[in-house]
Symmetry: C2
Subunit: 222 residues, 2 copies
């Protein structure tokens, strides 16, 4: 694997490449040209070639890219094989949905335990992992060398829980609380999953369509 | 509001501007310079000025931007005031989490009903909205002029449910199923909320850090 600094913009496209390539592999496609891959992803052939040149050479002039080689290489770059020890923090509806429906193992995370404050939940299991008391989270993270936390607690306790995670040296947080964790000046890596951004973006495109339609109607009635 | 084609890249930044400006307004900040706003958002002053110039002039040389004006204008561009009639499809853990915890009204969506196949749920309510039978979804969408659907059904029924939504003329889908809806060649607007992309991106940065640390260790032991 070629090393070096890859721009954030390219990195954010890697999961999309991975998904697209997985689909091609599932459909028994061996090779694909930068043009074909580009048209599937809404990118130009030259953008594809430029992206891939950031981390090595996968293609051969006239043959296109090997789907399998690309899949292996991009998975490695994304650390999919690294199996990060992970905890789920918060076993409400969202935490439960993630533990039950989301395949953490397939993308490099090993979910080892969940934490909550509800005495009815503590001591039970969820998708095969134990639900433990939030009081024990710092000890557990230290003793089990936990690297990542999936944060799915209510907004009101987000700050308090984030402090616990910071105290025990967590390395990365995938934040589903829809609030800012205020960890800008720390070494902790944070990825915010902000549902509102998706709805707002969708709202923009809807508004644009509705405006266009209403101006069509106005023109028709002139 | 200045009209015209705004690039997708700028549009995807609008929700982030909205969040940042809301925070400034909450902290009683009246004006902000492009430099200050840029440093809060990880952008350069000139990127900020360029973005804002796409949809009009909000700033005055030497005074910076009016936070309130920007908030009003960006909210309007995003269609936050438009109140899109919306249904929730799927009342599992994730659908429940969304209905209970997510403030749809504040970002322009009016949640009117939820749909599920579970006879124990049908006829009950969730966060003040009725849970109706999936059999009735096409009629309901048509009769109530529903514009948007929040899709939170299990992966296995995604295709079938998507067909229902397509049949009854839904305009937009916010897709939480983590699968592709296959609606590329239709007029339906789709926004995919892909949890895996967030985890994969986080995994990349973690892998990068761990590689750097292990090479530090190797150098120390030379």
């Amino acid at each position: 694997m070629k090393q070096g600094k890859i721009s954030n913009r390219v990195i954010r496209r890697l999961p999309k490449y991975l998904r697209q390539l997985q689909e091609l592999a599932d459909n028994d496609v061996d090779h694909i040209s930068s043009g074909e891959l580009g048209s599937k992803m809404g990118l130009t052939a030259s953008q594809i070639r430029q992206d891939f040149s950031c981390f090595g050479e996968f293609g051969q002039q006239g043959y296109g890219y090997s789907v399998e080689k690309l899949l292996t290489e991009i998975s490695a770059i994304l650390g999919v094989e690294l199996d990060y020890p992970t905890v789920l923090v918060g076993v409400g509806n969202l935490g439960r949905a993630l533990a039950i429906n989301f395949d953490f193992a397939s993308i490099g995370y090993r979910l080892m335990a969940a934490f909550d404050v509800d005495p009815d939940l503590i001591g039970t299991t969820l998708s095969g992992i134990p639900i433990l008391s939030m009081d024990d989270i710092e000890d557990y993270v230290r003793e089990n060398h936990i690297i990542a936390a999936v944060l799915a607690v209510p907004r009101t306790v987000t700050h308090e829980v984030t402090l616990h995670l910071q105290n025990c040296g967590i390395r990365a947080i995938c934040n589903f609380t829809n609030t800012d964790l205020g960890l800008q000046n720390t070494d902790i890596l944070v990825e915010n999953v902000l549902f509102s951004d998706s709805f707002l973006t969708l709202g923009y495109y809807l508004a644009e369509e509705l405006r266009a339609e209403s101006s069509d109607i106005q023109e028709d009635t002139l």
